[in-house]
């Protein structure tokens, strides 16, 4: 080998070391870049390429590969677990807001206002003729309804906030999807682009924080991204996701595939989207329903007794609270001289329902006859504003007729609601058919309100002849506080069960969050183990390559000196 070969070896060493130093530099520069995987040069000896029987050294050094230190298994786990972490994180965040609504640690929650309301009734029972006590009662009733309204409104607002944030999340997810697609194309064109691969993995992880997508690498190095089997990025195409409100008012997440719209709501099982879906469409409605049931029951129980009592001005049949149901009679109101809801224990299951009560003289499916009168009654229910109706079986409707009064009346009892219909049987039969609707408010808790304005109309008395000292009705209503009319428990117990449920849910989610945080931290450590940059290590490598560079340079100087020596020989 010629002396000039020494120059070549020196040159490869210089160039290779330079590139290795570049890699070290890049590692140091990206020590804190999120998603960056440490890169390492792999050096190899350049073989001499000459056939020989004696040993021959190589012709220098070269870079065989620059490796991205990356464990796809750890990264896969990381994607799944951090998706779950962001689910718990978001859920915990939302449930904490929910908890504020039901926070009873202060003295200004819903429960104290209920106590004060019934205490005010007790106060009226002590001084049934006192104007101040009556005015105080109206004030306390107002306070209580406002508290319940506020709680309901806060929950409703939270639902619309979640919808807004979900839309933003979906937009972000779509951005990630198109970024992934772009990166796919670039990587397919240049498989050695390590930084792009890092970026792609990082984007995929970010996407997983929003929703649990799965991915696999195809032959060309592209990632196909799927959610529950539905493609989102595949073969150079992006399928956008979108969120909208379904008919039930719940959110519906779907993918716009060429074959049409595909519902993926139920395949989202983790990530921020899942937390939003669950909170908005399951958890909050559940608490709203309970709040509504409470509003309806308090309203209805107090109204029921209040209507039977007498105010200081001898007025009677007044509602204390605004009715939370409406009765609409469509036809034959002439024969049915009056229709009213008599007594109710309207359970939560009834909120938002419409009942249609109708009668005819021929009977039919779902109908039952009123005695031997030839008048048949039927009750139907609808949960969707009257679009679809289903019969309540006759066996579940208690029909009791009383013909001893003028006019006759009958009561129909179903789902805890008792409706009283006045009207003579003969007249009803003559009209052959008739019907009316009973709609129960769907947003009782936000609509609850005090109907009375005049304190004198507060019905503390049960007998108009025994005013003003008759306090029996006020005493009865005050006693409702300890009655178990809330689905088998007292109001306080019922409300407490809501608070405890929120508290338990929140405590559990905080625990889950803590656990998941630890898990993700552990995984992050394992990922750092493989992919992370250690500055000390890089410093050592820097030193190593620096020395190699110096040595290579020295070698070229030596080669030069050898040349000089040779040239000096010939010049003599």
């Amino acid at each position: 080998m010629a002396i000039s070969g020494l120059f070549d070896i020196g040159k490869t060493a210089l160039l290779t070391t330079r590139r290795a130093l570049d890699t070290v530099g890049n590692n140091i520069a990206n020590a804190s870049t999120p998603g960056y995987s440490r890169q390492e040069v792999v050096l190899e000896n350049i073989p001499s390429g000459v056939f020989s029987r004696v040993g021959l050294s190589g012709r220098g050094v070269r870079i065989s590969d620059i490796q991205r230190m990356y464990s796809s298994f750890v990264n896969l786990q990381m994607r799944n677990e951090s998706s779950l972490l962001s689910y718990y994180d978001t859920y915990n965040n939302l449930i904490t807001q929910l908890e504020d609504v039901f926070n009873e640690s202060s003295d200004y929650g819903i429960s104290p206002s209920i106590n004060s309301f019934f205490n005010a009734w007790d106060e009226v029972s002590q001084y049934p003729d006192g104007y101040a006590q009556r005015a105080q009662l109206l004030q306390q009733a107002e306070t209580m309804t406002v508290r319940i309204n506020q709680a309901s409104n806060t929950l409703t607002n939270q639902r619309s906030e979640i919808l807004k944030s979900t839309k933003e999340l979906v937009d972000t997810a779509n951005t990630y999807l198109s970024q992934l697609n772009d990166l796919n194309e670039k990587i397919a064109a240049s498989p050695g682009a390590l930084d792009l691969k890092d970026q792609r993995d990082y984007t995929l992880e970010q996407l997983n924080k929003i929703m649990n997508v799965t991915s696999y690498e195809d032959n060309s190095g592209r990632y196909a991204v799927l959610i529950g089997g539905t493609p989102l990025v595949d073969g150079g195409k992006v399928y956008d996701i979108k969120v909208e409100l379904a008919g039930s008012g719940s959110m519906r997440v779907s993918v716009e595939l060429p074959t049409g719209d595909s519902d993926i709501t139920s395949t989202i099982t983790s990530g921020q989207l899942k937390a939003n879906l669950q909170m908005r469409d399951t958890v909050i409605p559940n608490y709203l329903t309970k709040l509504n049931a409470m509003a309806i029951n308090i309203t209805d129980q107090v109204n029921y007794y209040h209507r039977q009592g007498y105010g200081l001005d001898s007025s009677t049949n007044n509602n204390f609270f605004n009715n939370l149901y409406t009765i609409g009679d469509s036809s034959a109101s002439g024969a049915m001289s009056s229709v009213k809801i008599d007594s109710t224990t309207i359970y939560g299951q009834n909120t938002g329902k419409i009942y249609q009560v109708d009668y005819n003289t021929t009977g039919g499916a779902g109908y039952q006859q009123e005695g031997a009168s030839g008048v048949y009654w039927r009750v139907r229910e609808s949960s969707d504003d009257g679009t679809t109706w289903s019969d309540i079986p006759a066996a579940s409707v208690a029909l009791n007729a009383d013909t001893s009064t003028t006019p006759d009346f009958r009561t129909l009892t179903f789902n805890g609601i008792q409706v009283r219909v006045d009207g003579d049987q003969a007249n009803l039969a003559a009209d052959t058919s008739g019907s009316f609707n009973v709609s129960i408010s769907a947003n009782a808790a936000s609509e609850m309100g005090v109907a009375l304005i005049n304190p004198n109309k507060i019905a503390a008395a049960t007998n108009s002849a025994l005013l003003p000292g008759d306090n029996t009705n006020a005493k009865t209503i005050a006693g409702l506080f300890s009655q178990t009319f809330m689905e088998g428990s007292t109001i306080t117990d019922f409300y407490t069960s809501i608070v405890t449920a929120v508290g338990t849910d929140s405590a559990a989610s905080a625990g889950n969050l803590k656990f998941q945080n630890g898990l993700v931290k552990e995984l992050e450590t394992r990922r750092q183990d493989v992919s992370g940059v250690s500055l000390d290590e890089e410093a050592a490598k820097l030193l190593n390559y620096q020395r190699s560079y110096e040595a290579a340079a020295k070698m070229i100087t030596v080669a030069d000196e050898l040349f000089q020596t040779l040239l000096g020989m010939t010049g003599r």
Partner: protein
């Protein structure tokens, strides 16, 4: 395992966060004085806290009822005591009238005194607390004894709550003691009811003393009637005394209960400041250590010694 710079940062951040969070939590408890600041802090304790608060609020309301009842019953008690001394004066008068030493004329003068006593008794029957007649029924703004001396209202007892399922009546309808709903007769009217109703007995005394034709028997009867109503009165005074006793007993019980409930509430809700302060101190120590180790470690690495 390779230890990287990021790991150190992450660990430091996580450790610092945990410690700071604990300090924030503890100081929140100290500043609010409450151990349970939101339902999730201790869901079960929160449900007990609501229960205790509700009970406290009920006890407070029952105590208001007790005060209202005491107002009425104490007034009733002193009214009946006065009535009893009124009856003693009437008795003296009746005994004197029946003694046989009195002339018709002197008895007429005594009749005037008897009338004063009768009017005083009517006045007592129409005693009010606030604007409520305590001897009336539900018609509490109507004088129970009208101008004819008849009982003029209903006889319902006004009951208010003073405890769980415990109520007490504030009033004593006048027809249990003073008079029934018939007017006081303007002449001597011998009737068993005279020994039952205070006003009838006093009226009988007045009429007997005023009537020159009154027999010795009439005069003797009036003593008997007054003795009769005195018995009724002492029975009623006993009833009122018993009611006051009941009210006082329940008030004592409620005080006890309130003391206990407050204690339970405090056990569940109050922050244990001493423990919290110790916890904060511990956290601060570990936080300081963490800061020191981290800054010392991060301030030097191999680069510091290069070149």
């Amino acid at each position: 395992m390779r230890i990287t710079t990021r790991m150190f940062y992450d660990n430091f951040l996580a450790g610092m966060n945990t410690n700071l969070q604990a300090i924030v939590d503890a100081s929140e408890q100290i500043s609010s004085g409450k151990r349970v600041n939101k339902p999730s802090d201790d869901p079960l304790a929160m449900s007990r806290i609501i229960g205790y608060k509700t009970e406290t609020s009920q006890i407070t309301q029952y105590k208001r009822g007790i005060n209202t009842a005491k107002d009425s019953l104490e007034t009733m008690d002193s009214t009946l005591t006065t009535l009893s001394s009124v009856l003693s004066r009437a008795k003296e008068l009746a005994v004197k009238g029946a003694s046989g030493t009195e002339t018709a004329q002197s008895r007429a003068i005594m009749a005037q005194e008897a009338d004063v006593i009768l009017q005083e008794a009517i006045g007592l029957a129409n005693t009010r607390v606030g604007n409520r007649y305590i001897f009336a029924g539900y018609q509490s703004n109507t004088a129970p004894i009208d101008s004819t001396g008849a009982f003029a209202t209903d006889s319902n007892s006004v009951k208010i709550n003073i405890g769980d399922n415990i109520d007490i009546s504030l009033n004593m309808p006048a027809n249990e003691l003073f008079n029934d709903s018939t007017a006081l007769p303007a002449n001597i009217n011998t009737n068993a009811a005279n020994g039952q109703y205070v006003l009838k007995a006093l009226n009988y005394l007045k009429q007997t003393l005023a009537d020159p034709n009154a027999t010795t028997q009439n005069l003797q009867d009036s003593i008997g009637y007054i003795d009769g109503v005195s018995d009724v009165l002492s029975q009623k005074m006993g009833e009122v005394g018993a009611k006051l006793n009941k009210v006082t007993n329940i008030a004592d019980f409620l005080d006890d209960r309130q003391f206990n409930v407050t204690k339970y509430l405090s056990t569940d809700q109050s922050a244990d400041v001493a423990t919290l302060v110790t916890q904060i101190a511990q956290r601060q120590t570990s936080l300081e250590g963490l800061r020191q180790v981290t800054t010392q470690f991060l301030s030097t690495n191999l680069f510091s010694f290069l070149g």
